[in-house]
C-alpha cells in the first residue's frame, strides 16, 4: 500500500500485520457493499458489546449466594452509571438473540448452508447454542427471585432428559440444593467456557466466510471493497443496535433487580426472559406424562433437522430441501410468536399472576429500601428480608396471629382467585344468586356461584360502571363463620377475586409493648383495640368502671411503665428490681398509683396465677421482648393467662418460631422498623399490604 509510514513498515516487516489488514480490508465484496451483508457483523458487534459490558460487570460482581444480590444492587444503585452498564448487558442479550434469529433466517433464505459452506453453518449453530446458554446462565447471576426461580425451572427441565437428565442436573446445580455451587458453576460457564466457545467459533466462522466470500447475487457493475463501503454499513448497523439498546435502557431505567432469592417463598410468579417464553408455553401445552414432547422432542427435532440441513441438501432435491428449510424456520418463528403471545395473554388475564406480581414488586422496593438505608447484613442478602419486621415479621403475623388479632385495625384478609374452566362454569348453578336481581348476566351469576362457598349469604351487590373500559360487579356478604366475604369480577371475564376478612376476636397488636398501648388500655379497656372483643378479659373494664384516676395520673402510670417496666433487664429478679422504689424520695408517682389500683389484681414477681386467686397476668417486665416472647410461646403459663384455662384462649407457639422469627415479630409489634418509603413525595407510610394474604391457588377441578 502507498503512503505507509516508517513505523508501519517496521511493524509490517516483523509481523506482516499491516499487509494482512490492508489485504483484508481491500477485498472486494461480491455483489457490492450493502445492508444485506450487515447481519453477521451486527451480531458480532452486539456480542462485542456484551463482552465489554460483561467484563466491566465482572469487576464488581461476586458469584456467591450470599453476596451476588448485594453486588448487583451495588452496581445498580451505588456505582457511577452502573445501571447503564448492566442495562446494556441485560438488554444486549435480547439484541443478540434477535440478530441471531435474523442472521439465521437470512442464511436459510439465501441457502447459504449449501456446499461449500457446511462448516460455517455448523459453527454458526454451535454459537447459537452457546448464545442461548449465555442467556440462560446470565439470568441466574443476580441471585434475585427472578433468576433463582427461572433457573430452578430450567435446570429441572434439563433433569427430565431421559437417562442422563438427573445426573446432568446434579452436576450443573452442583448438588441437590441450589446455592453457592450452582452460582459458581453457572458463572464459570457464563464468563469462561461459553464465551471461549463463541470466540473460537467466531474466528473460524469469520475465516471461512472470508474464504468462501459473502453470498449474494452478483452485480457486476458494483465492485466495492470491504473498506470503507461495507465497513460503513456494518458500523452503521452496530451503531443502530447500540442506539436502540441505549434507548431501551434509558426508557426502562436499567435492568431492574427483584428482591433477593428466597427459596422458602412460594408465590413468586417466575417467568423466563421473553425469548424463552415460547419454550415455557410449549411446556405448558402438554400434560405431565407427555411433557417431554414439549421440553425435548419438539425442540430436539428442530435442532437435528437444522444440523443435518447441508447433508439433506445433498440427499434430496436442493429446491425441495430449501423450501422445507424456509417453511421450517418461518414455521418455528410463527409458532414461537403464537406461543409467546399466548403466554403473555394468559398472564395478562390471570388475576392470580397479577396479584403475585404486585406482591413481588412490593418486596423488590422494600429490599431496595432496606439495602439503601443500612446496607446488607454480613451473612447475606437473604437476611435482609428475614430480619425486616415489615417483611418476614408481617408474614409471620399474618400466618399466626391475624386470624384473631388485628394490626393497626387490619385483620387477616385472604384473597383467592377463582378461575373456573368452561365446563366448571357450565355446571355452576346460575339460580343460586337469582334473588340479586335481573341486572346480572347469566355468565356473571355462574362465575359467582362457582367462586363463592356454599355457606355464603349475599347482602349487597353493586355494579361499578365508572370505568369506561370495564364494568365491575362487587358482591358482599358473610359466610357461616361470620367472616365478611367480598367477591369482585369484571364483566366479560370469568375469574373472580374473593376476599375473606377474618373476624377480630382479640386485641390490636400494633404498638403492643409500648407506652402508647398501655396508655390506650388505661383510657378505654373496652375498645376493640384492647379487650373489647375479649369478654373473658373483662377485668380491666371492671377496674376502669370503679377507678377515679385522672387523665394526668393515668399518664403517670404509663410513664412509669415506659421508664421502669418495659426496659426490663434480663437476670434481675422482681424483688431486687422493686427495691429501687423503697426510697420514698425516688418514688415515681406512677408507681404509687400502680400499687393503689393495679396491684389489687396484678403482681410483680411471684404470684398472680390461679392459685392465688388473682385473675390477671404478672406484669414484671411487661412489654419487654422477654415478656412478649413468653406471651407468644406460653400464654397459658400460670403467671400469664393460666387463669383462662377454661375459656377460649390464645394457643402457645413454643417450638414453632425460631429465635430470629420471634425477634422480628416482637420488633414489628413495637413498631421498631424502617417505615415504608413513599416514592411520591418522600414521606413515609404504614405498610399498605398489612393483613393481606394472597392465596393464589387455582381452584381444583
Amino acid at each position: 500500500m502507498r503512503n505507509r509510514s516508517q513505523f508501519s513498515e517496521w511493524i509490517d516487516a516483523r509481523t506482516g500485520l499491516v499487509s494482512r489488514v490492508s489485504g483484508l480490508s481491500g477485498e472486494t465484496v461480491q455483489g457490492g457493499a450493502g445492508l444485506r451483508h450487515v447481519f453477521g457483523s451486527a451480531l458480532a458487534g452486539a456480542f462485542l458489546i456484551q463482552l465489554i459490558t460483561g467484563l466491566l460487570l465482572m469487576t464488581s460482581y461476586v458469584p456467591s449466594s450470599s453476596h451476588a444480590w448485594g453486588s448487583v444492587w451495588f452496581i445498580e444503585r451505588e456505582m457511577m452509571l452502573g445501571w447503564v452498564i448492566r442495562g446494556l448487558h441485560h438488554f444486549g442479550s435480547s439484541a443478540v438473540v434477535i440478530l441471531l434469529a435474523l442472521h439465521l433466517v437470512q442464511t436459510i433464505v439465501m441457502a447459504s448452508y449449501r456446499a461449500p459452506r457446511e462448516f460455517n453453518w455448523w459453527l454458526g449453530l454451535i454459537m447459537m447454542f452457546a448464545v442461548l446458554g449465555l442467556a440462560l446462565t446470565g439470568y441466574l447471576l443476580p441471585w434475585d427471585q427472578k433468576g433463582y426461580w427461572a433457573t430452578r425451572v430450567a435446570t429441572n427441565i434439563a433433569g427430565t432428559t431421559p437417562v442422563i437428565g438427573p445426573l446432568a442436573q446434579q452436576v450443573l446445580v452442583g448438588g441437590i440444593e441450589y446455592g453457592n455451587q450452582t452460582l459458581t458453576r453457572l458463572y464459570g460457564l457464563h464468563v469462561g467456557l461459553l464465551p471461549l466457545v463463541i470466540i473460537l467459533c467466531l474466528l473460524g466462522h469469520w475465516a471461512l466466510a472470508r474464504r468462501h466470500g459473502l453470498n449474494g447475487k452478483e452485480r457486476p457493475q458494483r465492485t466495492d471493497s470491504y473498506w470503507p463501503a461495507q465497513a460503513f454499513y456494518n458500523l452503521a448497523a452496530i451503531g443502530l443496535v447500540l442506539a436502540i439498546l441505549l434507548g431501551v435502557v434509558l426508557y426502562e431505567g436499567g435492568a431492574g433487580l427483584e428482591a433477593p432469592a428466597d427459596p422458602t417463598g412460594t408465590d413468586y410468579p417466575a417467568r423466563p426472559e421473553w425469548y424463552f417464553l415460547a419454550l415455557y408455553q410449549l411446556l405448558n401445552e402438554f400434560e405431565s406424562d407427555t411433557e417431554i414432547i414439549g421440553t425435548m422432542v419438539i425442540p430436539g427435532t428442530i435442532v437435528t433437522i437444522l444440523f443435518f440441513l447441508p447433508i439433506l441438501d445433498r440427499l434430496f432435491p436442493k429446491r425441495l430441501v430449501h423450501f422445507g428449510a424456509c417453511a421450517l424456520i418461518f414455521g418455528v418463528l410463527g409458532g414461537a410468536g403464537y406461543l409467546m403471545s399466548k403466554a403473555l395473554l394468559a398472564d395478562w388475564n390471570d388475576a392470580a399472576f397479577i396479584l403475585a406480581r404486585q406482591e413481588a414488586d412490593e418486596q423488590r422496593d422494600r429490599a431496595d429500601q432496606l439495602a439503601e438505608a443500612n446496607g446488607l447484613p454480613p451473612d447475606g442478602a437473604s437476611y435482609l428480608m428475614a430480619r425486616d419486621p415489615l417483611s418476614r415479621g408481617m408474614d409471620l403475623l399474618e400466618a399466626n396471629c391475624l386470624s384473631c388479632h388485628a394490626y393497626g385495625g387490619k385483620v387477616r384478609v385472604q384473597l383467592q382467585v377463582a378461575q373456573p374452566t368452561a365446563e366448571q362454569l357450565a355446571s355452576a348453578d346460575p339460580t343460586r344468586f337469582a334473588e340479586l336481581g335481573q341486572s346480572l348476566s347469566d355468565p356473571v351469576l355462574r362465575s359467582l356461584a362457582f367462586a363463592l362457598p356454599e355457606d355464603f349469604m349475599a347482602e349487597e351487590v353493586r355494579r361499578d360502571e365508572n370505568d369506561v373500559t370495564q364494568t365491575k360487579v362487587i358482591l358482599k356478604g358473610k359466610n357461616a363463620g361470620g367472616e365478611r366475604v367480598e367477591a369482585e369480577l369484571v364483566e366479560g371475564r370469568s375469574h373472580v377475586i374473593v376476599q375473606t376478612e377474618a373476624v377480630q376476636s382479640a386485641s390490636d397488636l400494633e404498638a403492643f409493648g409500648t407506652r402508647d398501648w398501655i396508655r390506650g388500655l388505661l383510657e378505654d379497656p373496652t375498645s376493640p383495640k384492647y379487650f373489647g372483643l375479649v369478654p373473658q378479659c373483662g377485668g380491666m373494664a371492671e377496674w376502669k368502671a370503679g377507678s377515679q384516676l385522672s387523665s394526668e395520673q393515668l399518664d403517670q402510670v404509663a410513664d412509669f411503665f415506659a421508664e421502669y417496666v418495659i426496659p426490663y433487664r434480663e437476670g434481675v429478679s422482681a424483688a431486687s428490681w422493686e427495691l429501687q422504689f423503697e426510697d420514698p424520695e425516688n418514688q415515681h408517682p406512677g408507681y404509687e398509683h400502680f400499687l393503689n389500683e393495679c396491684a389489687n389484681c396484678h403482681f410483680w414477681g411471684l404470684g398472680g396465677a390461679d392459685g392465688t386467686g388473682v385473675d390477671a397476668p404478672n406484669l414484671y417486665g411487661w412489654g419487654s421482648p422477654t415478656w412478649t416472647r413468653r406471651m407468644i410461646e406460653e400464654p397459658g403459663a400460670r403467671d400469664l393467662y393460666g387463669y383462662l384455662a377454661d375459656h377460649e384462649q390464645m394457643p402457645g407457639f413454643a417450638g414453632q418460631l425460631t429465635q430470629e422469627d420471634l425477634d422480628v415479630l416482637i420488633r414489628l409489634l413495637k413498631g421498631d422498623f424502617l417505615p415504608v418509603r413513599d416514592s411520591e413525595d418522600g414521606s413515609t407510610t404504614q405498610p399498605a399490604a398489612a393483613g393481606i394474604v394472597v392465596d393464589a391457588q387455582q381452584q381444583p377441578d
Binding site: T59, E78, W227, F232, L246
Partner: protein, 177 residues
C-alpha cells in the same frame, strides 16, 4: 467528497461514536471509587484513662467501628490500631497517639524487641518512641493522631483520640478522605 471518502468519513464517525457511547459509562463505572467522597464523620473516642498509661511503655488500643464494605454493613469490629505513649511530666502534651499503620507501605507497626522504639516488621522501618524515624525506610515518621486535651494531673482523665488514615509512601502526611 466522493463516495469512497464519504464512506471513510462516515465509518470513522460512527465508529468513534460507538466507542464513545461504550467508553464514557465504562470509564465512569470503573472510576466510581474516585468519585465517591466519604464524609469525615470520625470523632474522638475514649480509649483508656491517663492513670493506666506508664511513661516509656507504649500500649496499643483497637479502634472499633461499624464498617461499610461496599454493600455490606459489618457490626462494630476493630478497624485500626493506635499506640498511646505517656510523655514525661514536663512535656507539652501528657500523651501522644500514633497510628500503627506504617507510613511506608501500611504494614502494622509493633514495639521493637527492646521496647525502646517501634518497628515495622515488613521492611524493618525503625521509629523512636515519639514516632520519629530511626532509619530512612519510611518516608516520614509515624503518623500522630489528635488527642483531646486533658488535665495532666488527673489520673482518671479519659484519653480520647480521633482516628484517621493517611496516604502511604509520601513525605507529607496527607489524610485519606
Amino acid at each position: 467528497m466522493n463516495r469512497r471518502q464519504w464512506f471513510q468519513f462516515g465509518a470513522a464517525a460512527i465508529g468513534a461514536l460507538i466507542g464513545l457511547v461504550l467508553a464514557v459509562p465504562g470509564v465512569a463505572y470503573l472510576l466510581s471509587p474516585l468519585l465517591k467522597r466519604r464524609t469525615d464523620d470520625s470523632d474522638f473516642r475514649t480509649l483508656t484513662r491517663l492513670g493506666d498509661l506508664v511513661e516509656g511503655q507504649p500500649r496499643s488500643f483497637s479502634i472499633i467501628e461499624e464498617q461499610r464494605d461496599a454493600w455490606v454493613s459489618y457490626p462494630a469490629t476493630p478497624v485500626g490500631t493506635v499506640w498511646l505513649v505517656r510523655q514525661p511530666e514536663d512535656a507539652p502534651e501528657p500523651v501522644i497517639a500514633l497510628s500503627a499503620e506504617c507510613p511506608h507501605l501500611a504494614c502494622k507497626i509493633k514495639v521493637s524487641g527492646d521496647g525502646k522504639g517501634f518497628l515495622c516488621p515488613c521492611h524493618a522501618s525503625f521509629f523512636e518512641l515519639d514516632g520519629s524515624r530511626v532509619n530512612r525506610i519510611s518516608p516520614r515518621g509515624m503518623d500522630t493522631l489528635e488527642v483531646e486535651p486533658i488535665d495532666p494531673n488527673d489520673p482518671n482523665a479519659e484519653i480520647r483520640v480521633k482516628f484517621h488514615r493517611f496516604r502511604t509512601g509520601t513525605e507529607e502526611k496527607i489524610p485519606l478522605a
